[in-house]
Each structure stands twice: as C-alpha cells, then as structure tokens.
C-alpha cells in the first residue's frame, strides 16, 4: 500500500545536518580558518570575487569554506548576498594606467617603459609536485628591492601614437548595468564586457581557445597583461570632489589583433580587452579574445558562424550561476510532466500496434 510521501521537511533538515558534518570533515584535523583560506587559497578567492561580482576577500573566503571548496557554489553564495546590498553610488572609472603593478608583461615588445615585471607567476615553474609542501613548511621569502615610482604606460598607447592600432574612442555615457536591467540583445560592448568579466572562467576559456583553433580566428598577441592595485574613487556630492574610498587588485589584458583593413581604412591592428577582479590572468586573457571575436560586426568582418562570434550564444550561456541552477533543476521532481509523456507514448504505441 502506497503511503503519500510525508516528512519532506524533516528529510531536508537532516540532509542539511549531514552536509554540515561533512563540510567539517574529520574533527581530529584542525579546522580551516577563513583567514587561512583568504591568505593561502587566494586565487580561488579571486575567482569567487570576480564571478561573484563582489570585491571582498573575507566574504569570498567564507563562501569557499561554506561551499566545501566548490567554487561555483561559493560564487552563488556571494551573488545571493550581493543582491541584498544597497547601492550607494557609482565610482569614477578606475585608472589602470596608474596601477601599482605586481606583474606587467608584454608579448609584443622585448622591452618598454616600465619594464617587463614577471611578478608572482606560475609561468616557467616546472609542474612537479613539491612534496616538501606536504610536510610542515616554513614561510618562503622572496628577495626584495625598493619600488621605483616609474610610470608604466599602456603598451597600446605606443602603437596608437603611430596610428597602427584602432583608436579607442573615449565614451562618457553611463554603461548599462547588467545587475539592474534585464540583459537584452543586441548588447553593446560595455554590456558584453560586463557579462564577460563575471562569466564562468571555464566557459570563456573554452570559447577563447576555440578562436585560436580557427573558429573565428583573430590571432591575438598579448600586447600587455598587468596585475596590481588601483585606487577606487567616488564623487561625494556633499564635498563636490572625488575621494579615494579604497583599493582593489585587478588583472587587465589588452590584446593586439590582426585586421586586414578595408577600402576606407588602411591596415591597422585591432583590440580585445579583458578586465577582471583579482589576480585572474587566465580569465582576463580569455575575456580579451572573446571580446575581440564578438566585435566582428563593428569591424566589418564576416560572420563565419563561430560560437565565439555569437553574442546571444555567448552572453546567455556564460553565467555559471544561471547555468548550474537550470542544469541541476532537472534533479527536482518532474513526475507530472513525465506522467503526461508516459500517457502519450503509451497511446502512440497502442495505436502503432506495438
């Protein structure tokens, strides 16, 4: 005899208790602190801040702890939190030209004003497991030198001086806000960039890679990649001028891409742009490649039908919180729909004499 399933409430509560216990793991092992995650899992923290669209390393670290290290779940926690925050205003555009760079490299020039600064990078490390880390390690120290207050101008500005790269025309119109307005097509570049910077790193990486392999190839050089802190300034109406309200770390990537020119324009390089919270260079480079691919129309290129050229495809599928929610919802009960399909298939089979 079938008894209607009761007690969903208790089942949920018990499942959550079990989850909490599993999150903590073996209690004989010391518990991770939020500060430990913030300091020692900082690239995970950066990804959660970038895709969560909230610059707060402590909250991101807390979210990672709560999510048992599932970064998409952590991003979700941050997104759900950020929607409840009041909006005080809008900052001035940050000046990445004035960035205090920890890392600054150019793949297009051997040397340049401001120099090549490798910074704390995995590049050129040999990916050999370091078993010393498995033991109690002591704190490694890197050699230091006094910072020189040398200006670090943007590489693309050099090319621009010669007219070799397309002019980036300043635009003072307020960009649309993806988090306050529904995403509608066609999306202008400001809106696309906004969607890309919070998009899933893996999805954007895959799309960017596809352009490199020939699906809307736009041959990108990393004109410049820079990582460092910039000041955030905000106009305070009562004061009548802007004051610095804090500092954030950003990764900026400017790509220099080929362009064959047209009847009206001589050959000129074109640009792709990536800007992401934190030290997140894989994402920033990927973003620049996808940005460039999405600009095909504006640059008079052909639509070759590549996924990375299709703004609707890219923007509607790049958000991992939307994607994972909808994907995972198929775990929810669907027996009403399934029942109606059962009836239909039975009827069709009956009529087919099966």
């Amino acid at each position: 005899m079938y008894v209607a399933v009761k007690g969903g409430e208790r089942a949920i509560a018990n499942a959550h208790s079990w989850l909490a216990e599993e999150r903590r793991g073996d209690t004989a092992i010391a518990e991770l602190s939020v500060a430990q995650i913030r300091e020692q899992q900082s690239l995970a923290v950066n990804r959660v801040m970038a895709e969560g669209s909230l610059y707060d390393p402590d909250l991101a670290a807390l979210a990672i702890k709560q999510a048992r290290g599932d970064l998409i779940e952590a991003i979700f926690l941050i997104r759900a939190y950020r929607t409840t925050l009041p909006r005080f205003g809008v900052s001035q555009p940050v000046d990445t030209g004035a960035m205090a760079c920890d890392r600054r490299i150019s793949a297009t020039f051997k040397d340049l004003p401001g120099g090549q600064v490798l910074g704390p990078t995995f590049d050129y490390t040999h990916r050999l497991l370091d078993f010393k880390l498995a033991a109690e390690g002591d704190a490694p120290e890197a050699p230091e030198r006094t910072a020189t207050p040398e200006a670090v101008p943007h590489v693309t500005a050099f090319l621009n001086r010669e007219g070799l790269i397309e002019e980036a025309v300043p635009d003072d119109t307020s960009p649309p806000d993806l988090t306050r307005e529904p995403l509608e097509m066609p999306a202008d570049r400001a809106l696309r960039l906004q969607a890309l910077t919070r998009a899933d790193e893996g999805f954007i990486l895959g799309l960017a890679y596809s352009t490199q392999r020939g699906y809307a190839r736009n041959h990108a050089f990393v004109g410049e990649l820079r990582i460092g802190a910039v000041a955030v300034e905000m106009d305070i109406p009562e004061l009548g001028f802007a004051i610095e309200i804090g500092e954030i770390t950003l990764t900026e990537c400017e790509t220099v891409n080929q362009f064959t020119g047209s009847k009206t324009e001589p050959p000129q390089f074109t640009r792709g742009y990536g800007l992401v919270f934190g030290q997140t260079e894989r994402k920033a480079i990927s973003m620049a490649l996808v940005d460039r691919a999405l600009r095909w129309q504006e640059l008079g290129e052909d639509d070759v039908g590549a996924p990375a050229q299709d703004a609707e495809f890219v923007l509607y599928h790049a958000d991992n919180i939307q994607a994972t929610g909808f994907l995972e919802h198929i775990k929810l009960p669907h027996y009403v729909d399934f029942q109606s399909e059962l009836e239909l298939v039975r009827k069709l089979r009956r009529e087919a004499g099966a």
Binding site: Y316, Q339, L342
Partner: protein
C-alpha cells in the same frame, strides 16, 4: 531574519517587479523583461515564482506552495519555509484558504476564486524557443504575430505520430493575440487557464521574464479543426479517493509491474478522503 526586508527583496526591487506584473496584466500573454535578481535558491528552482510571490505578498496573506501538485515535495517545502522565515506569512495547504498560491507544474483541481493569485514557476517562458533558439528572433516573431512555425510543428507531429506530441507545456493563444507557454503543466490543466477567476502570474527568473493572465482571460490551446485539443490524463480513478476527474500520478508499488494511480493534487485528494470518498487502494 531581521536583517532582510519583508519577503526578502528590498522595496525598490519589489516595485520594479510589480511594474513588470502590471505591464504583464495589461498585455495578457506578453513576456515582460524584468531585472531578475539572484535569489538565495538556484536559478531553475523557482526564482521567478519566488520573486513574483515576494512582490505580491502582504503580511495578511495566506500562502500555499505546491510542486507537482503536492505541498510536501521537497522544493515546495523549501520555498514555503523561505517565506515563513522572511515574510512571516501564514501558510496553508488548503487551496480554498490560500490567497497566494505558488505552483510548479500544476493548477489545483479546485476552481480558483476571485481574490486569489496563482504564481507559476516558469523554466523557459518562450513558447517558440525550441523552434527558434534566438531571443532576438522570437521577440520579432511575437511582435509580428508570426506563429506559422508553431502550427507547422504541431502539424508535423500529427503527420508523424497521428497526434500532437506535446503533453505538457502545451502552447496556448491568449485573447487571440500572444502565443504563450503555460509553464510545464500537463495539458490536462490547460482548460483551467482560461476564464479563471483568479489572477495568474508567471515568473521566469533565469530568463528574466514575467507574464500574466488577468481574471477571466480567454486562453485557447492551439489545435486544428480536425485534430481538436485533447486534455488527456491516465484513464483510471484515484486509488486513494476514487476521483475520476483529477490528474493522476503513477506510483510503482512493487518490482512486478504493480502500480497504482493517485491524485497529484494532494490537498484535493485528502479533502475527498476526509469527506469519506475511498478508492480501491485505500487502506
């Protein structure tokens, strides 16, 4: 939960959603874009319905949540708990008592009355989506009333299978204007959409759309003269309450092919049993 506003969302956001709802009510069946917020439950789990409910709930309301017709399914429990915590509203499982009912995949069996609001959770609001994946195209098709593609699809079903092979989320035409997705309710429920005394609101969070049916709206399920719409259901009475006019779930009871059919609307079934109705499988 004192740190959150009544029904979780801040007043500005609720106002934005109410505007979208009013626009939807003014243009029945039209999908109104709205700036859907991230909610503390995943997209695809009813965030559209939750935002609509949050925007229409008042402290005096009595709230009911069903999923697959049942008040007790896990996600219905979770959403009901969310509003108990964030809005402190009274809740109920009785359809007649509720002033706001949030639903996923069903319309209650008991006819709704004036003053009630039925809020649907909608996964894909665009009825043309699986015929044309591009939003820019489908919006154009709606504005031009270009619904030929949909009729061709239904016709192709008939030529291939002898029937229209859509059994849920069966498309409807609203007031002879917009073709609308009624959310994945079984087509058995489609006749309840039209001429309904209650307000019907549809929320799609991930897709950022709200649409609505004001009371007593004309809603017609798409069909052909020689293939009229057929709101079918399992041809059995309910095993518990004996109802012959309710939508049924099929439940597998053993591993020898045994099965029974029971009302998917648990409140309806329980009310009938309380009145003394018994089905053949009732204890």
């Amino acid at each position: 939960m004192t740190e959150y506003n009544f029904a979780y969302l801040d007043e500005q956001t609720k106002r934005m959603i109410r505007r979208a709802i009013l626009k939807g009510l003014a243009i029945p069946g039209y999908q109104v874009p709205f700036a859907s917020r991230e909610m503390p439950m995943p997209y695809g789990w009813g965030t559209g319905g939750v935002q609509v409910s949050a925007a229409v709930l008042t402290p005096e309301d009595r709230f009911k949540v069903i999923d697959q017709g049942a008040d007790d399914t896990t996600n219905a429990v979770s959403i009901r708990g969310f509003f108990e915590r964030t809005a402190g509203v009274a809740t109920t499982t009785h359809t007649e008592e509720a002033t706001v009912i949030q639903t996923r995949h069903r319309i209650p069996e008991v006819p709704l009355r004036e003053g009630q609001i039925l809020v649907y959770q909608v996964p894909i609001p665009e009825p043309l989506r699986f015929l044309e994946p591009r939003e820019s195209e489908t919006r154009k098709m709606h504005s031009l009333e270009e619904y030929g593609l949909m009729h061709v699809k239904l016709y192709e079903d008939i030529s291939r299978h002898g029937h229209i092979a859509t059994s849920y989320a069966y498309p409807v035409r609203v007031e002879a204007r917009y073709v609308m997705d009624p959310s994945p309710i079984p087509k058995f429920d489609n006749p309840k959409l039209g001429d309904c005394a209650a307000i019907q609101l549809f929320g799609a969070g991930r897709e950022q759309r709200i649409y609505a049916l004001p009371p007593y709206t004309q809603v017609v399920s798409l069909d052909f003269e020689d293939h009229p719409f057929d709101p079918s259901k399992a041809d059995h009475p309910c095993g518990l309450c004996g109802a012959t006019n309710s939508y049924l779930d099929e439940v597998i009871v053993d591993d020898a092919g045994g099965r029974m059919f029971v009302c998917s609307d648990t409140d309806y079934c329980e009310a009938r049993q309380a009145q003394g109705h018994r089905g053949k499988d009732a204890a």
